[in-house]
Symmetry: C2
Amino acid sequence: MSSASTTTTRPPRNGVDVPTLFATLDAVKAQPEAARFQFRAVNRWISGTHSRTTIHGFFGVGEEQEHTSAYTYDADHPEVLVGTDKAASPVEIVLHGLAACLTAGIGNIASARGIELTSVESRLEGDIDLQGLLGLSDEVRNGYERIRASFTVTGDASDEELRTVVEQSRARSAVLDIVTNGVPVDIDVRTG
Amino acid sequence: MSSASTTTTRPPRNGVDVPTLFATLDAVKAQPEAARFQFRAVNRWISGTHSRTTIHGFFGVGEEQEHTSAYTYDADHPEVLVGTDKAASPVEIVLHGLAACLTAGIGNIASARGIELTSVESRLEGDIDLQGLLGLSDEVRNGYERIRASFTVTGDASDEELRTVVEQSRARSAVLDIVTNGVPVDIDVRTG
């Protein structure tokens, strides 16, 4: 053990800047109002079931923020559902958000615990009976009945440690909470 | 009124092939098992909080289906949340899916009712207190506390008719159901 201070700059672990991650946690602990965020999306209909969403500004850490660029994403229905299949469908986009949220959590948590990840892969499946949204049955819900997510995680830690990383990501995932527990949605309509 | 059959091909209304839409409804009515769909997403971690989802195959109408191409979408956390901001964040992606689902419904329902839409725009906002997902408070949930969606719809129909189109889309939206009512999610973990 040496008492000499080390000034070596370590590369970010798994691409995560761990000192800044911990500093951010400390800053939010000291000023809980910094944790109040608002995320936004603006969508424009293009044609049929095809639309485009732009995601740029958000609020957080007490002030307006902007992504490094404005991100645009399309959505459409597949042809078998009378769409033009210009992009993934809205229900598939929900799977994308869920997978990405759990995976980002795995990246952060593994890094905070000093685990070098080699790979994180997941496959999500959502079962849906379209009799609900097609208005053909009032006993069938509109959305997914069930979602299954299968993760395969490899890294320089024991199976047990890797599993607890996934478990902690699950325990703190924003999108998993949204998708499993539901969120109140207010819809306001203006006509031109 | 003429008894002569007309063979004029009308252009799709709002980009929606309405005869095929109604034929699809009739086909599902006759064979409810055709309505059982499974949507899928495969996600791979890239680095830090950055991951990429591929969406290609799905199951429906009794057989395996494929989108016209494999769609890939990235997700990341913004820099203020110690990400690298290569794409929208997972919670923003949920807003995209919700906006796109309600908008696709508006396109289909307006078309089925003979309404020509001029524009559909929506702005979604989701409020979230990050003390939850950062693990700094057990009293704060991980996900959105509330989502607001503001739609502006214009077309060749009365305000009342346009409002009922939005209302019907809300009543039959898959993603609105998922987000407001929640879905059971099973997570399976394998380690390498």
